[in-house]
């Protein structure tokens, strides 16, 4: 029995008491386990305790898991958020990514060892502070949020614009209208934009230009390849922010994008210009935050992709020295 003060606090939220019992019995030795049977109760617990990790069920009466996590993201950005779900509710999952900035999805039924590993990582990551993005801090005015961002990243206020312009955006995709939209937004923000058509070009560009901080990928048919690419890039360049756009979002893809790629946003097209502008701004803020405090990358650590990486992709990454060549 080690000192209780050193234990992380984790909160499980589920309307089924037996689930809570089961989870508690798994984690009670290493963690201080809190439980709540609903969203309202969970928020009460969060208000009273400094919770490192929250694991919520999706389907609960009164408040859904994604709604709870979105609130937690806003109110307690330090708390690592995980969603426990037994049923693929597409809309909820997408919302959890974009509004809850979730760390992992955990499928029911879970595997004790992997859930322990994930929660351990999450708990450790929760110790690293990360500045909220301006989008997150909606109560602040742009100046204030800039100030918050400056304080956190220790960049002088006047250089802020320059700091952003040191970064660049990379687009991978074929849709002309989308490229034009992004160019327009980045022009206003004075961010250089590079455009590529294939994964090879994109990887090449990212390796060659360390200034690229934001990657916008249009998801077409090569879903697995894209997820693997994001995962590998994220392992090598944790500060790289990824925004994935698709004609139609998909629940399973969303889960993989988070668990293996820690994508910043997963959105369905078409996008409004204002929305895109907000996302790009927030993405660069996040990028700057990770870059300024390299330890914070563990908050965005990715799992290795579950399915096999294709040979072509392996070769590509090997040629850039991102992964070891197989002998």
């Amino acid at each position: 029995m080690s000192d209780k003060a050193q234990k992380y606090n984790i909160l499980f939220v589920d309307d089924e008491q037996r689930i809570l019992t089961s989870l508690r019995s798994i984690f009670r030795r290493e963690y201080n386990v809190f439980t709540a049977s609903g969203g309202k109760e969970a928020l009460e617990v969060l208000a009273k305790n400094d919770i490192n990790v929250i694991v919520s069920d999706q389907r609960m009466p009164n408040m859904l898991g994604n709604e709870l996590l979105a609130q937690v993201h806003k109110l307690y950005p330090q708390t690592m958020r995980l969603l426990l779900t037994g049923f693929m509710d597409k809309q909820a999952i997408i919302q959890t990514i974009n509004e809850g900035e979730i760390y992992r999805f955990i499928n029911k039924p879970w595997n004790n060892e992997s859930i322990q590993a994930v929660i351990k990582e999450a708990a450790e990551a929760s110790k690293i502070t990360i500045s909220p993005t301006s989008e997150q801090a909606i109560t602040h005015t742009p100046q204030e949020s800039a100030a918050v961002s400056n304080n956190a990243t220790a960049v002088p206020p006047k250089a802020e614009k320059k700091a952003i312009s040191e970064h660049a955006t990379l687009i991978m995709g074929s849709s002309q209208s989308l490229r034009n939209q992004i160019r327009q937004v980045c022009k206003e923000e004075a961010i250089p934009v590079y455009s590529t058509q294939s994964i090879r070009q994109a990887v090449n560009a990212i390796i060659a230009r360390p200034t690229i901080g934001l990657l916008v990928i249009e998801l077409l048919s090569n879903t697995d390849e894209v997820i693997h690419t994001i995962s590998l890039l994220k392992q090598k360049r944790p500060e790289l922010i990824t925004v994935v756009l698709a004609d139609e979002t998909d629940a399973e893809v969303a889960v993989n994008l988070i668990n293996s790629g820690q994508v910043f946003r997963y959105l369905s097209k078409p996008l409004e210009l204002l929305q895109l502008q907000k996302i790009i701004r927030a993405g660069f803020e996040r990028h700057a935050a990770i870059k300024s405090n390299i330890n914070s990358q563990i908050r965005f650590k990715v799992d290795k992709p579950t399915n096999k990486i294709t040979a072509g992709l392996k070769e590509l990454f090997a040629s850039f020295g991102l992964i070891k060549k197989q002998t």
């Binding site: 037996r18 689930i19 019992t21 798994i26 389907r59 426990l84 029911k108 039924p109």
Partner: protein, 591 residues
């Protein structure tokens, strides 16, 4: 179509106009009028000739048919007036030429009659003078004879002889004059008269007076005769015949003109008729062609409709299938979620127990085994044994304090419960589908409702719905349970969705009602208005947003109830709730 109508209207108008003209025309062209007129003209000619003949007779013979002449004149006037003012009045009005000719003839006729009258008068005078002359001549004759008797002695007396000669000569000359009325003879006569006058001195007074009177009378006769001749000539010269001819000719021209016009008109009519016929033939042709076209079109359309109908039927079947698949998918997802929750904790619990067993209990086990081993040794070391027992005790104490034993117990209990849940769900799935049972069987409706509730449990939980059951004592009925399950699931799911905002109670009542079994589902949801109730069983009618419902659920439910020879109806008030009544016959064969 409009074009045809206009054409037909124009043709009808033209036809009506031509008809009108034709009636008018046939009134004017009357052959009998022509014949009558011709006859009348001929009669006039005859009369005129008769008058002329009579005039000659009167003039050159001793005839005195004045009355006849008058009668003839009257006749001719009457006839002409008749012709002019009755028979041919309109024609004369219309034709200026005919009018002029008639006027001409009329004027001439009047002039002739006037001359004739004069002639008759003078003729009468002449006759009277003639008589007088004859009388005077006889007197002279007597006187001369007397004289001659008186002067028989005096035969030498030449004066009487001369007188007689002169008288004779005069008489001869007079007749000669009368014969020709030539100026030479008149001169001769005048000479004779002058001679007679010059020789008159020699005769006696009595004779002289008579002779003088004779001579005077003679002179008057000459004048009168000349007048008579003049009037006669005038009368005869009045060329009534020619004028009558001219009139007749003019009338004939007019008549021919009319006939020509009517011929022209007839031609126009024939042309009109031909055109009409041609157009009608064209119309008939067009109509026929259209008819044929129409037939083809109808055939084409019918084929298209048949194809469309088949497609529709197919797509309806597909839709029903996809509705089935959608509700099946939803059901599977719901069940998966329902199973996942117990599966989640059972799985977690088993893992935890395993871990507990692997760590704490393994340690305890090892310690006990070692102690046991040591205890069984013949040369057992009491100290070592005591140490080993102390370890066992320590481990046991630790486990005891940690609560691992109780935990395991609790986890096993929960797992047991979870497995019960899962098998319950699987059982209800089995009951729900009834794939392993016969289609029609005697079933307890309550079982059907229960398995439907179980299947819909995630809907019920998610929408915070309480189920309240009021089951009556009802017999089993012959039915197709798998279909009834589908029906009940539909109704329960709809009720839950209607209460998704505020939750509520769904009460389910069953009771026997004469030959029927009543099943009533009453929710506290949105409710429906009259309009929605009217349409709720229509295929594809849905109040859910696009993409969330196919609108076939209730229509399929309706079909299921009808297949069971039952009744389904709804009562509802907006914002208060809906009550669905399902009536199933207790004995389906008798109803």
């Amino acid at each position: 179509m409009k074009k045809y109508t206009i054409t037909v209207l124009l043709l009808i108008a033209a036809g009506l106009y031509l008809g009108y003209l034709s009636i008018k025309q046939s009134a004017t062209i009357d052959e009998s009028v022509y014949l009558k007129t011709s006859e009348s003209v001929r009669f006039l000619k005859t009369l005129d000739n008769s008058i002329n003949l009579l005039l000659f007779k009167l003039n050159y013979e001793k005839a005195s048919a004045y009355t006849t002449l008058n009668q003839l004149n009257d006749s001719i006037s009457t006839e002409f007036d008749e012709l002019r003012f009755e028979a041919l009045f309109e024609e004369i009005e219309r034709s200026p030429d005919l009018d002029a000719k008639a006027e001409d003839f009329g004027d001439n006729l009047i002039a002739k009659q006037r001359s004739t009258e004069q002639f008759v008068e003078q003729q009468k005078n002449l006759r009277a003078l003639d008589k007088k002359l004859n009388r005077l001549y006889r007197e002279i004759q007597v006187l001369i004879d007397t004289d001659r008797d008186n002067q028989e002695a005096d035969q030498d007396k030449t004066s009487t002889k001369t007188l007689v000669e002169d008288l004779l000569k005069t008489k001869i000359n007079f007749y000669l004059f009368l014969e020709t009325l030539s100026p030479e003879r008149k001169d001769l006569l005048n000479d004779s008269l002058a001679k007679l006058a010059s020789n008159i001195e020699d005769v006696e007074f009595e004779e002289r007076a008579v002779i003088s009177e004779y001579a005077d009378t003679l002179a008057t006769i000459i004048t009168t005769k000349e007048l008579v001749q003049k009037y006669f000539e005038e009368a005869v010269a009045a060329s009534t015949t020619e004028r009558l001819d001219a009139f007749e000719q003019s009338y004939a021209n007019f008549h021919n003109g009319q006939i020509n016009e009517s011929k022209k008109f007839r031609t126009v009519l024939i042309i009109y008729g031909s055109v009409l016929l041609a157009i009608l033939i064209i119309f008939a042709y067009l109509l026929r062609r259209q008819y044929l076209n129409l037939e083809q079109q109808v055939k084409d359309r019918t084929e298209k409709i048949a194809v469309a109908y088949n497609e529709l039927k197919e797509s309806q079947e597909q839709l029903i299938q996809s509705e089935k698949m959608a509700s099946l998918g939803e059901m599977v997802a719901g069940i998966a979620h329902e199973i996942n929750t117990p599966l989640g904790y059972v799985n977690g619990n088993v893992n935890t127990i395993q871990t507990n067993m692997a760590t704490d209990f393994d340690e305890l086990n090892t310690a006990i085994r070692m102690a046991y081993k040591e205890a069984r040794k013949p040369d057992r070391d009491a100290k070592k044994l005591s140490q080993l027992f102390t370890t066992v005790l320590k481990v046991y104490q630790r486990i005891e304090i940690d609560g691992v034993m109780d935990e395991n117990k609790a986890l096993l209990k929960d797992s047991n419960h979870g497995l019960g849940e899962i098998s319950g769900l699987v059982q209800s799935l089995k009951n729900f589908s009834r794939l392993d049972r016969q289609a029609v069987e005697n079933a307890n409706i309550h079982d059907c409702i229960e398995s439907s509730i179980k299947i819909a449990s995630h809907h019920i939980k998610q929408n915070n719905v309480e189920i309240e059951k009021d089951y009556g004592d009802i017999p089993e009925i012959g039915c197709t349970p798998s279909k009834l399950n589908q029906l009940f699931l539909n109704v329960i799911t709809n009720a839950c969705q209607a209460m998704k905002d505020n939750g509520g109670t769904l009460s389910i009542t069953t009771k026997e009602n004469k030959e029927f079994l009543d099943i009533i589902f009453t929710d506290q949801g949105y409710g429906m208005d009259e309009d929605t109730i009217q349409k709720m069983f229509d295929p594809f009618f849905t109040t859910k947003p696009i993409g969330e419902g196919t609108g076939l659920g209730m229509s399929i439910s309706y079909k299921i109830v009808k297949e069971h020879k039952g009744y389904i109806g709804a009562e509802s008030k907006p914002n208060e709730g809906t009550s669905i009544l399902i009536q199933l016959p207790l004995n389906a064969d008798n109803t």
